[in-house]
Amino acid sequence: MVLVLAIGDLHIPHRAPDLPAKFKSMLVPGKIQHILCTGNLCIKEVHDYLKSLSPDLHITRGEYDEDVRYPENKTLSIGQFKLGLCHGHQIVPWGDLDSLAMLQRQLDIDILVTGHTHQFKAYKHEGGVIINPGSATGAYSSMTYDVNPSFVLMDIDGLRVVVYVYELIDGEVKVDKIDFKKTATTQSAH
C-alpha cells in the first residue's frame, strides 16, 4: 500500500499565491511515500514545502521553473509499476494523447504523469495509462483561464492502482476515484 502524490503546475508566486487552504489542510506529512511533481513550481520555497510532505520527491522541469537543474524526464519503479514523469510542454501538440503515448512507449513505463495543460486527465491506451493531475493552485494555463485546482493521489497495492482525484469545485473538495489493474504481462525485451 504505497501512496504516491502527483501534483504540479503550481506557478507560485507568478500566477497564484499559494495552494488552496483546503488542499493544504489535507496534505500533511507522514502519509505519503512518494511525490511526483510535474514541474512549474516555480520557486524554492515550494520545493521545500513539498519536501516536507515526503522525503522522496521527484520533479521534472517545467518551462517557468527557477531551478534549472531539474531533469526533463524521470522514471522510477514503485512496487510492480513503472512510473514516468515529464512536464509536458516538450510534447507538441500540447496535451495530445497520441504524442504522449509515444513518450510513454519511449520511456517504457506503465503510468506516465504529465502536466502543462492544467486540466485533469486520466487516459488508458494499450501501452499504459497517462495521468495529468492538473494544476494544484488553479493557475491559468497557456491555453485557458478556466482551471479548477486539482491533484492526484495514487494508492499502489500490488498490481492494482486506485487513483484518487482531488478537485476544488466551487470552494468544496470533491474526491473521485479511478481503479485500474495492470495485467501481469511478461517483460518485453527491446
Binding site: M1, L3, S25, M26, L27, V28, G30, K31, K121, A122, Y123, K124, H125, E126, V129, L153, D155, D157, R160, V162, V163, Y164, V165, Y166, V175, D176, K177, I178, D179, F180, K181, T183
Partner: protein, 458 residues
C-alpha cells in the same frame, strides 16, 4: 479446595532434597481412598507406558519404591475424595506433579495420567515450587494457571478451538491495511470495474467514493485516518519487538524462525493495542509477552505450538489484566498505580528487615523507584537470565490471588539476599548492585520468598 494454609510439612526442608515426599504421600493416601478400580500402587510402574489418559486405575504412577520418607499425615488428601466421589469411576484424583525433584521421565509419565479435572489448588502449590524444564509441561501448566484452559479436561478442545478462531477473527479485523479494507468494502457493495481490465482505450471512468473514504481524509470515521493515527504506535511496537531479547536466537537474528516469531509478537501487540484504546501499547509489554510466547511456541505438542500466537495473546491479556494499572501513566500516583505498589514493597521490606530498610531508604537514600520500577512492571524478566525468569514466573503465576503478592515477596527476598553487600554500600554501589542484580540460585530465592509469605501470614 478447602485447604486454608499450607501444611507445615509442605514447607519443610524435605523439599530441598531430591526425593519426592508428596508423591508417595498421595500414593499411599490414594491407596486409602475408596476407589473401585484396583489398587494403584502395584500397577503403577506397569501402566506407565500406556498413553491413554483415561485409564482409571492409575492416578499416581509414582513408583512406591521411592518412599523412605515417613508418611506425612493424610489431612491434605481426604478433603478431595468427597468432591470427586459423586463422579463416575473414571474420575481420578488430582494430577500429582511434584516437579523438579523427580527425574524427568517420571514427571512426563505422570503427565500422561493427567486427571480429568485438574485440581487447580494442588497445581498451584506444585507450580510454585517450580516446573521442571525438560518435560514440556510448562506450556500446559501456565495455560491452566492463567485460566486459559478450563479445569475440566473434556472441554479443552472446545475452548481452544473457540479462542483460536476468535483470534483469527481479530487478526482479520485489525491487521488489514486501508487499501484492502477499501477493496473489501467495494466488493461487498457490489461494484465491478471489469471495463478497465480489458485492453480498451479511452478515458478512464471516474467513480464516486463513499463516505469520504480517501487516503487524505481527516474524517474521524475514515479508515485511512484511523490507520495513520495508529502508525505511531505500530512503529513503536515494531521497534520494541526488534529489540526483544537480542541475545536469543529465538527472537533475534536473520533466521526465518526469528522473523516469524517477531511477526507473531508484533501481531499480538498490535491487536492488543487496538482492542485496548485506553492503554494502547507501552514499552515493556513486549518483555512480558516474550516468555509466554516462548513457552507456548516450544510446546512439544506440535498442534499447540502451531497456535502459540493465539494462545499467547489470550494469556497475555489475562496476565496483563492484573497489571494494567502499572502501565497507565495517569494512575501512577493513585492507590492502584505503580507508586503505591512500590511503597507496598517498601513496607514489606520494613516489616521483614527493618535494618536493611533503614539503611537503604534513609541512610543511603536509595529510592525504591530507582530499582523496583523495572522489577515490578516487567515481572522480573530483565533481572535474571531467561531460564531463571521462567522459573520465577512459575512461582508468580501460581499465586491464586494474582502475581502481585508473590512478586513483591520475591522482590523483598532479592533485597534480603544481598543485604550484606547493601549494608556495606553507599548510594552509588547499592544502586549499581540493584540495577544489575547478581546471579543467584533461583530455588533459594523462591524459598526465601515463600518463607516471607508464610511468616507474615496474611
Amino acid at each position: 479446595m478447602a485447604k486454608k494454609g499450607v501444611p507445615e510439612w509442605l514447607n519443610s526442608s524435605l523439599w530441598a532434597s531430591s526425593s519426592s515426599p508428596p508423591a508417595s504421600a498421595s500414593t499411599t493416601a490414594a491407596a486409602r481412598l475408596p476407589r473401585s478400580p484396583p489398587s494403584p500402587n502395584p500397577q503403577a510402574p506397569a501402566l506407565s507406558p500406556i498413553p491413554e489418559p483415561r485409564s482409571p486405575p492409575c492416578p499416581n504412577p509414582q513408583a512406591p519404591t521411592r518412599s523412605p520418607i515417613p508418611e506425612p499425615p493424610p489431612p491434605p488428601r481426604p478433603p478431595q475424595p468427597p468432591t470427586e466421589a459423586p463422579r463416575p469411576s473414571v474420575e481420578a484424583p488430582p494430577d500429582d506433579r511434584s516437579p523438579s525433584r523427580l527425574s524427568q521421565e517420571e514427571v512426563s509419565r505422570q503427565f500422561q495420567f493427567l486427571a480429568e479435572v485438574v485440581n487447580i489448588g494442588e497445581l498451584r502449590k506444585l507450580a510454585s515450587q517450580g516446573i521442571p524444564d525438560g518435560t514440556g509441561i510448562r506450556s500446559i501448566v501456565w495455560k491452566l494457571l492463567l485460566g486459559y484452559l478450563p479445569y475440566d479436561r473434556e472441554f479443552w478442545m472446545q475452548e481452544l478451538a473457540k479462542k483460536r478462531s476468535q483470534y483469527k477473527a481479530f487478526k482479520e479485523e485489525f491487521l488489514m491495511n486501508p487499501s484492502e479494507m477499501a477493496r473489501r468494502m467495494e466488493e461487498s457493495a457490489g461494484h465491478k470495474n471489469e471495463a478497465l481490465e480489458t485492453g480498451g482505450c479511452g478515458f478512464l471512468m471516474r467513480s464516486e467514493i463513499t463516505h469520504d473514504e480517501h487516503p487524505l481524509s481527516l474524517g474521524k470515521t475514515s479508515v485511512w485516518n484511523q490507520f495513520f493515527q495508529e502508525t505511531e504506535i505500530i512503529e513503536q511496537i515494531e521497534r520494541d519487538v526488534k529489540r526483544t531479547h537480542p541475545d536469543m536466537q529465538f527472537f533475534c537474528g536473520d533466521s526465518s524462525l526469528a522473523k516469524s516469531n517477531q511477526e507473531a509478537l508484533r501481531h499480538i501487540l498490535i491487536i492488543f493495542a487496538k482492542l485496548n484504546p485506553g492503554i494502547r501499547y507501552v514499552q515493556g509489554m513486549n518483555e512480558i509477552l516474550a516468555p509466554l510466547f516462548y513457552v507456548f511456541r516450544n510446546d512439544p505438542d506440535q498442534d499447540n505450538a502451531a497456535y502459540a500466537e493465539a494462545d499467547a495473546f489470550f494469556c497475555f491479556v489475562e496476565l496483563l489484566s492484573g497489571f494494567r494499572d502499572n502501565f497507565c501513566q495517569k494512575l501512577d500516583n493513585s492507590v492502584v498505580g505503580i507508586r503505591s505498589t512500590i511503597s507496598k514493597l517498601s513496607e514489606l521490606l520494613k516489616k521483614h528487615d527493618g535494618e536493611l530498610w533503614r539503611h537503604l531508604e534513609i541512610t543511603t537514600k536509595v529510592n525504591p523507584q530507582f530499582y523496583a520500577f523495572r522489577w515490578i512492571t516487567l515481572l522480573l524478566t530483565q533481572e535474571f537470565n531467561f531460564v531463571d525468569s521462567l522459573h520465577i514466573w512459575d512461582a508468580l503465576l501460581s499465586d491464586p490471588d494474582g502475581p502481585q503478592e508473590t512478586l513483591l515477596r520475591v522482590c523483598c527476598a532479592m533485597l534480603i539476599l544481598v543485604r550484606k553487600r547493601l549494608l556495606a554500600g553507599d548510594f552509588t554501589s547499592n544502586l549499581k548492585l540493584l540495577q544489575n542484580y547478581p546471579q543467584t540460585n533461583i530455588n533459594h530465592l523462591l524459598y526465601v520468598a515463600n518463607k516471607l509469605g508464610g511468616s507474615s501470614a496474611g
